[in-house]
């Protein structure tokens, strides 16, 4: 294919991606280096019957005017990155010096919004991803052993949690685990504590968010593994049987090596998707107990005072984290490409 033809075909798509993905990233970088103009403070002399006093007031009009004239704000360099809301260099140093022990240090770190968001996001990603793969594989094996007639309906039902809107799916689950919902009652009964409530308990909230995560994405892993199971080489399987391999050994040495590339694929997609965990935290109204990097940005953007610069700094740090997370894959692809 000629270069010119290639670019004619690719141009519209590339244009859309450049304008609305590449440029916004640049816009994020620029915004993160600026901060909103501070309020214009004036000292006014107030003279009354008891003499004069100086009063410090905020000049709302002047503040408004300068903020509108320069919506980007004032240049602050990397201040946004090092302030308390993000990398919190000062606070981290102080926590390191003054902490009495690891527990104390950890508590201080978890009080810093960016670090607590990143801890939740990473925990969520690395707990949910393996569990999703495990559950998905189990469902795939089970469906594969079911009789052909019921496989269609089984797949239909299994797809539901995955296809459903994440916000809606997590709401449905949240209403059930509400202290007044059926699962909430069940949890209280199991724990023997009638006051137990997801809304009030941080560990329970984390667990439920992860349960939702696994419930939502297991169907994806299942469908991929199920397709993989259809193509397991039956000759190899029978040869293994003749050689005296038992059922478990055949799964271990024939099936699992066959679907290993699929596991890598599912793990890659799941890492990407779990790292941006967002909707369940909104549905569960989990702000008080758990904050992910995405919700941290969302609340900065949506609050009363739109903290665009703070959100931009968090966004860039998030993108860097994604890059680090994906780097093994990218390095491997690059090597493959070099070899080829």
């Amino acid at each position: 294919m000629k270069h010119s033809t290639f670019f004619t075909f690719v141009f519209p798509s590339l244009l859309a991606m450049t304008l609305l993905i590449v440029l916004p990233v640049i816009s994020v970088v620029v915004q993160s280096l600026y901060a909103q103009h501070e309020q214009v403070i004036e000292t006014v002399q107030n003279c009354g019957p008891f003499g004069c006093s100086d009063e410090v007031t905020v000049n709302q009009e002047a503040t408004q005017a300068i903020r509108e004239a320069e919506p980007l704000g004032r240049f602050v360099g990397f201040d946004n990155y090092f302030n308390r809301g993000h990398l919190a260099v000062t606070e981290m140093g102080e926590a390191w010096r003054t902490s009495t022990g690891w527990g104390d240090w950890w508590n201080k770190v978890m009080n810093l919004p960016f670090y607590s968001a990143i801890v939740f996001t990473l925990t969520f990603t690395f707990v949910v991803t393996p569990l999703t793969i495990g559950l998905g594989f189990a469902i795939a094996v089970a469906v594969n052993s079911a009789s052909r007639a019921v496989r269609g309906p089984l797949i239909f039902v299994s797809l539901l949690p995955f296809i459903i809107t994440p916000l809606v799916g997590s709401l449905v689950l949240f209403w059930m685990v509400d202290a007044r919902g059926i699962l909430g009652h069940a949890i209280q009964w199991l724990a023997g504590n009638p006051d137990l409530s997801v809304k009030a308990s941080t560990p329970l909230m984390w667990i439920m968010l992860m349960v939702y995560g696994v419930w939502h994405s297991a169907p994806f892993a299942f469908v991929v593994f199920y397709a993989g199971l259809q193509t397991v080489n039956q000759d190899t399987n029978e040869a293994a049987m003749i050689d005296g391999a038992n059922r478990w050994q055949r799964v271990r040495y024939v099936t699992i090596p066959h679907i290993m590339p699929l596991v890598t694929f599912v793990a890659l997609i799941q890492l990407m998707d779990n790292f941006r965990v967002f909707e369940p935290l909104i549905s569960f109204s989990a702000e008080a107990h758990a904050q992910s990097l995405s919700t941290y940005i969302y609340y900065d953007l949506g609050g009363e005072t739109r903290l665009l610069n703070s959100a931009a700094a968090t966004s860039l740090l998030t993108v860097i984290c994604v890059g680090i997370l994906l780097s093994p894959v990218l390095v491997r692809t690059w090597r493959d490409f070099k070899r080829a």
């Binding site: 000629k2 991606m17 449905v172 689950l173 993989g228 055949r250 967002f278 959100a311 994604v322």
Partner: protein, 294 residues
């Protein structure tokens, strides 16, 4: 696995697998049935402090409305809260996103699948990286420019944004579909004197529909399920379904009208049920398309 001989499984293992499947089916389907049933009750039953079984029997629903079932939630959501307008907005967004996104990704995917240049590879790798970026990080890049240029709040802006966000995934999918269409097909057309565009138009276009339909389904799901983009970029007037449901939670939970949200959730889920019912095979093939390629 014992694909060929499911009968040979020992009884205990079979029972275990059946038990596991039953458990999974309940886990997957029960929450939806429970919510559908509960959406026809009053709040006191759906969220019952006294006895969870009220949600089944509808004790308070009978006391408050006289019947075991009530459509109050639906009336409130569709009537009082004008959920219909959100549905209309969502339909507009979905139709436009799917159409535009498919056009762009079909053209680009075809070229990418037929190109042997290095930069074709790099475009796909860049797309993979874009796919990995959380959408909300892009939204924080949009807000300031969109305010300044007066683009914020409009349906058109959201549509274009969703098209762009959808491109990386669609590109990968269409490329992998086009790779399955033999190169000989369009090359022989070109030997017969067609240029690239004519070959695409007359030879590829008629055989590409399965891939287009599958990619279209996933574009639709992205547009339909999107929350971060629509929540941040649309004003009250143009709100789509999902942000509307989220806003119910903010405003109506205090008024005791959480049943509006329940009814809206059921209304938003229904189309997806129908979609899976009709397109199950395409969805499955789409989910595995990327995987089989490795």
């Amino acid at each position: 696995m014992s694909t060929a001989s499911p009968r040979k499984l020992p009884m205990s293992l079979r029972l275990f697998l059946i038990g596991f499947l039953v458990l999974w089916v309940i886990m997957a389907a029960f929450p939806f049935m429970w919510t559908l049933w509960g959406s026809f009750k009053v709040e006191g039953d759906f969220f019952s402090k006294a006895n969870w079984a009220f949600a089944l029997s509808g004790e308070l629903t009978r006391v408050e409305t006289g019947g075991s079932f009530t459509g109050d939630g639906y009336a409130g959501a569709w009537g009082q809260e004008e959920f219909g307008r959100a549905v209309l907005n969502t339909s507009i967004v979905c139709v436009c996103v799917v159409t535009i996104s498919l056009t762009l990704s079909t053209l680009a995917g075809y070229a990418l699948s037929r190109s042997t240049f290095n930069y074709a590879f790099w475009i796909l790798i860049a797309a993979l990286m874009f796919r990995a970026m959380p959408q909300i990080t892009l939204v924080s890049g949009y807000l300031l420019p969109f305010y300044e240029w007066n683009l914020w709040g409009k349906l058109g802006t959201t549509i274009i944004v969703l098209v762009a966000i959808n491109q990386p995934f669609s590109l990968w999918m269409m490329t992998s579909f086009f790779r399955n269409i033999p190169k000989d097909l369009d090359e022989s057309a070109m030997v017969d004197g067609c240029n690239r565009f004519q070959a695409f138009r007359h030879v590829i276009l008629p055989v590409m529909w399965p891939g287009v339909i599958t990619t279209g389904l996933f574009s639709f799901l992205l547009a339909y399920n999107d929350f971060p983009v629509a929540a941040m970029l649309l004003d009250q007037e143009n709100q789509t379904m999902i942000p509307k449901i989220a806003s119910f939670l903010g405003t109506t939970q205090t008024k005791g009208n959480v049943m509006f949200a329940v009814a809206a959730v059921v209304s938003a889920t229904a189309p997806l049920f129908v979609l899976i019912l009709f397109f199950q095979r395409q969805i499955v093939s789409g989910l595995t398309a990327g995987a089989v390629k490795g």
